[in-house]
Symmetry: C2
Subunit: 344 residues, 2 copies
């Protein structure tokens, strides 16, 4: 038995190295909440919540406001009975980022207690993953310059943000393709297109002989019918991001045959529901990618261990710690360019 | 790292204490195959396959015939990378009982290596479960006598086999109810009814004021439309058993809204797919029960640890080890009447 004796929340502010501009959203920084749980024997587990106002309606203040609730529910709970803790966490309906931070901290502490590495506890599928790097929205020239730089840094996959201007987006993709041939591309419209714009985008890009590996969240998050329309009219695989937070969202998309891919982000679903979504996807021939909000290396660590443990993600978009200013990497992994490897 | 160095299959024959008669099937004994894996450090893990010819087309001979295949795939594999082993096991398409025995043996060895109890590795939800006990088909008098005996033995839930004779089945349920009032009942027709018979059965029993907790597999396993018809016309929850072997079967039933319950049996799905089916059911408000084939206590142990670890089963039908002649209980649990408790 290993009872939780204390829970701490620590708020940390980060600035982006460069303002992060996606369709209809612009960020210069992020405030995350680190969670530390400690057991009676003094074992500590760590997690990080990176709340997303845009996607989940959470803020760092709303996360912090739940500290007393978290303490009242978790203090005295045995981390070895982690499924009971996961069940309790399902009541934190509007704070999935906090759910992840707490659930991961519990698993982290449990694994430390038992001398197991988290990624091995989760299945030990692989000890390294490849991540893409993201180009946020700016001028065509800036986006091309950023892409060339990303290629030079050693990345093989570029995620390109679009969704504010169809004709400019098509130009951007063409130019980036011309200057970085040989790479793979994920295009993320962050809900920015109408269904017809999205189909037009996909068909035009396809007609130019450019391959897009994943076309992410082309349309409104609640418009599942249009997501399906785009899927059935796009030569490229269509992925839901904003449309999938919970496992119930995932099941609904599966029932409606609306997507080829689901982008799991621990900050949208919670950790235990991410495990559920993986099983749903693998049971229905839906492919998976894993993404992030504005996690520091502490939060990215959570996704890295999940991705290595389960080995089920075709694409990993785990680059937020590279886009913010962070004094030192505190994750339990080593990064070499595009490769993230869990420590042995 | 803990590499598998050897795998042994041991065939064991068991007799039923009393012939086991269900709709259109009659058994006097069972032949199971125990699996022992051993790592290079000498850690051993144990599992048991109880193949079902009727449900899965497996025999003990067909299981044993796969020994060389299992060795060629598993020898040298690291049990700490268990997700890779689970992935390999998915190629044993026609031998789910063997998949379970091997997958569980791997988890058993992994947990021994790390000094964790299997049920805690799986979530540690509860340390005991309640099982029902089964009355197989015979004369009305015999079935009533068996039910009274089961009640005297301390069981609160009786599973009653039906499906061969509608009018006699209704009489049996009435008589058992009259003589064992206060208990709960699961009725299992094992695919024996036509859809109209099944609906007639449910409505007649309901009209007599008798409550059935679960109405299991009323109709043909492949006739999902009829399963749905029964579900929508039965006052009692309808459960799929023979209709669900794989996670793909489970998803199909969920999409078609065909059932209220799924009966997971490790011998139908394999261990890792049972974990998937749990997530599918919990994402779609389907309830779960866990059942068995003809496992000895070695095989029942597998389901006990899953049921305690996850804590998601509304009903546990884990009684085959009580119905066969077994010299001693070898499972890692203690049974007191209807309560099965994992050892501390």
């Amino acid at each position: 038995m290993s009872k939780i004796k204390n829970i701490k929340f620590i708020t940390k502010k980060y600035s982006y190295k460069k303002p992060f501009h996606i369709a209809n959203s612009f960020a210069t920084g992020a405030t995350n909440v680190e969670v530390e749980i400690e057991t009676e024997e003094g074992i500590k587990g760590f997690g990080e919540a990176s709340p997303s106002w845009r996607v989940c309606g959470e803020t760092s203040d709303s996360v912090v406001s739940l500290l007393n609730k978290a303490k009242s529910i978790l203090n005295g709970k045995d981390i070895e009975r982690y499924s009971l803790i996961f069940k309790e966490m399902s009541s934190f309906i509007f704070s999935p980022s906090l759910v992840t931070a707490i659930e991961f901290a519990v698993i982290d502490a449990l694994c430390k207690k038992n001398g197991i590495r988290v990624w091995k506890f989760l299945g030990g599928n692989k000890n390294e993953i490849e991540t893409d790097k993201t180009v946020s929205i700016s001028s065509v020239d800036d986006m091309v310059t950023d892409s060339i730089k990303i290629k030079r840094e050693g990345f093989n996959i570029i995620k390109i943000k679009t969704g504010e201007n169809l004709s400019k987006d098509i130009e951007v993709i063409e130019e980036i393709y011309r200057k970085t041939k040989g790479l793979r591309y994920i295009v993320d419209a962050n809900t920015g297109y109408t269904p017809k714009e999205a189909i037009c985008f996909a068909k035009k890009i396809y007609s130019k002989g450019i391959d897009i590996s994943v076309f992410e969240q082309p349309v409104n998050r609640y418009d599942i019918e249009s997501l399906k329309l785009v899927r059935f009219n796009s030569p490229f695989p269509v992925c839901a991001d904003e449309s999938v937070k919970t496992k119930y969202d995932a099941l609904n998309l599966i029932k409606k045959e609306a997507v080829d891919y689901i982008n799991i982000k621990l900050m949208k679903s919670g950790f235990s529901q991410a495990l559920s979504i993986i099983e749903l996807a693998l049971s229905s021939n839906i492919k998976l990618m894993i993404g992030c909000m504005s996690e520091s290396s502490v939060g990215i660590n959570q996704s890295v261990h999940l991705a290595c443990g389960r080995g089920v993600f075709d694409f990993c978009d785990l680059d937020s710690h590279l886009l913010i200013k962070e004094d030192k990497i505190r994750g339990d992994f080593v990064q070499n360019k595009n490769i993230i490897r869990v420590k042995p």
